[in-house]
């Protein structure tokens, strides 16, 4: 079953050119499910980096603009899109030239798969 979810995400990953990895983690950056290609930068997949999203959305929600849903960071070589699905966080790491809209479009395909992952994380915490 877990492999099925992984396979579906793997297929989605291949559909977007320039997307290197999809990480589904808890808010501390501990991975629940990882789908990586060999081009994924190792440092960006570490919890120390991924957990900053949790802090950022906590602070961002104080701006009076409502709850933060998605964070998009573009760097010189990569772009990181992180989605708030608390208790889960979905992180996409892609090349800087990857179409950001395509990455955002994956949300509706990944969302139905999250139910079991959410249960796993919610039980543990």
């Amino acid at each position: 079953m877990v492999e099925e979810i992984r396979k579906v995400i793997q297929e989605l990953l291949l559909k977007v050119s320039g997307l290197y990895c999809v990480l589904i983690t808890d808010r501390d950056g501990v991975p629940v499910l990882k789908v990586l290609t060999d081009k994924a930068p190792e440092l960006a997949t570490r919890p120390a980096f991924l957990s900053t999203f949790g802090l950022a959305i906590d602070q961002g929600s104080k701006l009076g603009l409502g709850k933060a849903k998605t964070l998009i960071c573009t760097y010189s070589q990569y772009q990181i899109v992180q989605m708030n699905k608390l208790p889960l966080v979905i992180s996409f790491i892609a090349s800087d030239t990857c179409n950001t809209g395509h990455i955002l479009g994956l949300e509706k395909y990944i969302e139905p798969l999250l139910a079991n992952l959410t249960v796993a994380v919610a039980d543990t915490q």
Binding site: M1, V2, E4, I5, V8, E11, D26, D28, G29, V30, P31, V32, L33, P47, A48, S51, T52, L55, Q59, K62, L63, K108, Y109, P112, L113, A115, N116, L117, V119, A120, V121, D123, T124
Partner: protein
């Protein structure tokens, strides 16, 4: 209503003042009555009902304000990134994979959403990337279809016999 009329009566100094008329207000001086209503804050009610010593109340209210302010302030320098220890990380990862296996065993995966518009074609990229139809063929198809359509529209029912036939019941 009463409020409005009483206001106008005072303004124009009506000669009928004191006597009941269509302008006499039914409620006695509603404006001044309204102004006497004391204004309470919700906090006053809380402090009165609890009947605790006032100083503690003030202290707790101040603490609350301080707390609220602290949560509303975005203090980037004070953000402490809670770094997980390696063993904690490994332990949690193990727990997640275990729980995930359990959750997946008990719950079925939801039916997959439509991934592709051309679901009935197994390899749409091959079909789409194949050469387009020859213009001559296309013209032939178009003319054939046009003629077929014209022929179909010409189809008529030929009337030969009476539609309603009387059954002759033998006497």
């Amino acid at each position: 209503m009463g409020c409005c009329y009483s206001f106008f009566c005072n303004e124009d100094g009506s000669p009928q003042r004191g006597e009941p008329s269509e302008r006499t207000h039914l409620l006695v001086d509603p404006v001044s009555n309204n102004s006497n209503i004391p204004i309470y804050n919700s906090e006053d009610f809380l402090s009165n009902s609890n009947a605790l010593p006032k100083k503690t109340d003030e202290q707790s209210a101040l603490n609350r304000i301080l707390q609220e302010t602290a949560t509303n302030v975005i203090d980037v320098a004070a953000l402490d990134s809670h770094n997980l220890q390696q063993h904690e990380y490994v332990e949690r990862m193990r727990q997640y994979s275990l729980k995930l296996q359990q959750a997946c065993a008990s719950n079925k995966l939801p039916p997959r959403t439509k991934m592709c518009l051309l679901q009935d074609i197994p390899a749409p990229e091959k079909v789409l990337s194949s050469e387009s139809v020859n213009p001559d063929d296309l013209r032939l198809i178009n003319s054939a279809v046009t003629r077929a359509a014209a022929a179909i529209s010409d189809i008529k029912v030929e009337h030969k016999e009476d539609m309603v036939v009387m059954f002759r019941v033998p006497d």
